[in-house]
Symmetry: D2
Subunit: 290 residues, 4 copies
């Protein structure tokens, strides 16, 4: 969601085993720092031995300690409670690298929202295994790198991409209909940092050609799933899904075209949520603070 964020807005995400007093500890800590909690969501899977998840938005005092100090001071609490946590300035633009192949609807949705100020990221780079989108991408003032993936030379191509991503210090990667399967080596280089859009409501129609499969099955809904990429194809933690109604009049090709609308919107939502630190990955699922 678009927001004109104050410069002193921070976000804290915490996951840990549930135990009494966490909320009080965190909120008291922030109060002592002179920070005001603007929004908080907290959820426990099970009060008896379950997991605790929390997201806090706060405005820190602009007079007292600065953000880095708060983050440093929080470390001792985090250690005591064994938090899995991160604290971010809300106004820091994350660096997002986009991968695309030939179809550009997901790419354009992201570029457009970026240009419209709905997606406050920096986009240092778009990488593609095809040259088709070069002109479009560069018209936004964004560098485009064509890294062809030749048969038997996927490793070299991925190495080149990994190096570029690291050089640009990207925070996360979006596969905007990138039609190559990434190797475990690539995926493990960016754990919990790669978002993919799959063109079906997973777990239906895993793998290639989901619209052709949907046509064969005669479904009355088609969908799309934005998820984090793991080593298991189409099995990573789901961030967002959406669907649209179809009927017997749709050919397989028409399903594919109609589905673009669902894909781009589901992906854009997931990217915004990821960027706004609304998502915690836990096991093979996500907690999404809306």
């Amino acid at each position: 969601m678009i927001q004109s964020l104050p410069n002193n807005r921070g976000r804290l995400l915490v996951a840990c085993k549930d135990q009494p007093g966490i909320v009080a500890t965190i909120s008291s800590f922030l109060q002592k720092q002179g920070a005001n909690i603007v929004q908080s969501d907290q959820y426990t899977t099970d009060p008896e031995g379950g997991m605790f998840f929390m997201r806090v938005e706060f405005d820190w005092s602009t007079k007292g300690d600065d953000f880095n100090q708060i983050r440093e001071d929080f470390q001792s609490i985090a250690s005591a409670f064994q938090f899995d946590w991160r604290m971010e300035r809300a106004t820091r633009k994350k660096k997002m690298v986009i991968f695309v192949s030939k179809e550009n609807h997901c790419l354009l949705e992201l570029l457009w929202k970026w240009k419209a100020g709905e997606l406050h990221v920096d986009i240092p780079l778009v990488i593609s295994n095809h040259p088709d989108q070069q002109e479009e991408v560069e018209s936004y003032g964004i560098p485009f790198v064509h890294i062809p993936v030749e048969k038997g030379k996927k490793q070299e191509a991925e190495q080149k991409a990994i190096q570029l991503i690291k050089e640009h210090e990207a925070d996360f990667i979006v596969l905007a209909r990138y039609m190559q399967i990434l190797s475990p080596n690539f995926v493990q280089s960016f754990p919990k940092k790669i978002i993919n859009i799959h063109h079906s409501f997973l777990p239906a129609f895993i793998g290639a050609n989901p619209y052709a499969k949907a046509f064969e099955r005669g479904v009355k809904l088609i969908g799309a799933t934005a998820h984090y990429v793991t080593d298991d194809l189409d099995e990573g933690p789901i961030i967002e899904q959406d669907i649209m109604r179809v009927n017997h009049r749709y050919s397989s090709d028409e399903l594919r075209v109609a589905g673009r609308n669902v894909e781009r919107i589901a992906l854009a939502r997931a990217v915004v949520w990821h960027h706004e630190d609304r998502v915690i990955i836990h096991g093979n699922k996500t907690v999404v603070f809306s």
Copy 2:
């Protein structure tokens, strides 16, 4: 959809290989009978060698030939074009037998719509493998038959059900969360006449415990699928699907409860469409004239 239907309303459903002149032939035939076409939908999968599907609602002349005569006369056209067809009086109430187990939300949705006049069927019988719903069903003035399915004695139970269904001359059967797998013998006794509700958006989560599987997978949508029953479990032609949004806060049990709303509404829609002769089965898919 509720309708105060005129007594002389007829419905014609036609499927055949596409060939020029079918619409003209059918509409001219009806005109000669003094019938007025009130609504018609026609769809061809492919003008070159595809399938032709058509649904016509018409009001026949109450002065001239009666409905049975029209149907009889239509036979010669149907033979010439090799139609797969049926012609029905719109006001004839189809006989619907409901199967249920313990959970009653789908059963109640159907009974309620029936009582409210939204579903113009006759319900000669509700059959269950459990006695739980007897009182509820009988309070609607509908006979309830408890046919337990004991281990190793499924065949006897099914035979009893088949006999009852045939005695009551049922037009179709609705499995309103009937938690038994029907044998091929049963299914083949009522081809294209058994509607089931599966508690997932098929083909996701085929088989038992779809909500538990949905919970494990961490999906952001749950769904339900109304389909005709074939020998392949959960693989029959889909009539209707629907979904609802869920999030990380839902336990497996809460998914199951929330899903009831989707199940009953998807099933009720499919039953109404089937009853109103809006569905043509073609291969493993349906054409639904909305």
Copy 3:
């Protein structure tokens, strides 16, 4: 949502002017009482002089102070911060009185969810200006009171209803398609405690016959709105809205019938949220903690 709630689950709702330290104060208070926060949501309209809203679910220590003591102790904090607040045992069943006229779809949805254990209220009474639903209501073991509203005698009828509601110590009132306009006197007797379902997506089609108006206007969506009742007809705080797609084939009457599905589902959601203390009224709006 259905939940098998522990006996020591409490809920706290707080609204006040935003000021630093509220979350810390509330969570520290609960920690000192030995209570564990299970879920919390907090939202501030504007960090500078805005409103603070919070909902907390907590499990209090079954060894230490009991719930009433916690509530009593909280009063001093609440006074200091000028909280508008309430604290409830989650397992206490609220008493809900239903008003109905002739159409029963909303009534039946509530009764059914109640019987299915999806709505943990007590229903001491159903009141109607028509006798039609008596048998249905009594079949659920719930008393039915027929209070006709004769021309010029609305005041007497309302007085009778008010007296009954007070005798039964009802917590809230649901107008499940009650087709009478309540007087300001009645409304003011139960402030913030009357939920109505209006059969349009407000503010479209305020007043009588919204489906006829929707038909005239040729809308492509129809909807329903569950809202708290205030003196201004159809202008009270909205709790929930939903819609469904329609098209040119729907007659005014078919819109009315189709709309029943939307009405009953929107109303049921609003009632569950109200019952689960998820709604805070602020001015003419609601904060709904989902």
Copy 4:
């Protein structure tokens, strides 16, 4: 919907008073021309004195008479039955002129679908009262004309626009968030040919600033309405509406931004349907053949 249409595909739209034999007459006519009906939809508001609406897609014989001859020959039937009708080549690209002001989300959605081949129109011109979108539009190779609307000089501005539209022989006009009210003179120059997107689910929030009004009212859904423009502001025949869920966390400004998604999708659907000859205007409503 995208379609690789055959060159000999035609579309026929008919509206008239219902009378027996229309379907037979039309289909027999097409058969005699050697045309094959590929799809047809027909709907009657009331068999007794109602209106008859029909849409037919047909492939004419490429050997025999050509399309213009068919259209000419149809005239005599049309006169006899007093049809309001049109017959179009499906492959003829209609000429669409877009009006835009400063916000470009609706404009870009149309340009993008156009470039992706999802919208088979020609766009001879984009007209705007602001210069902001010039670069964007021209990057698509489409001429952009800036016609400022100065106070008291609206008539001159409209005259200039009317002249340009007529010079380019535009088939229809899309107001893609054009923030000027058109004069009756302009509207009457292009009857049934101007499509507007209004940023609310009409008839709610007619007029200016619907998102601010939606925020004030505390609605739980926001919407958008694509409609034909008539002299009565926001009162023209509705083609399509859509909505999205919102909650108390949305500021007025966030509603406005979130609503962009709904606006552009509802408008794009309406434009595609208009272009594919799926819409018949009747009185203040539309019949949309899906």
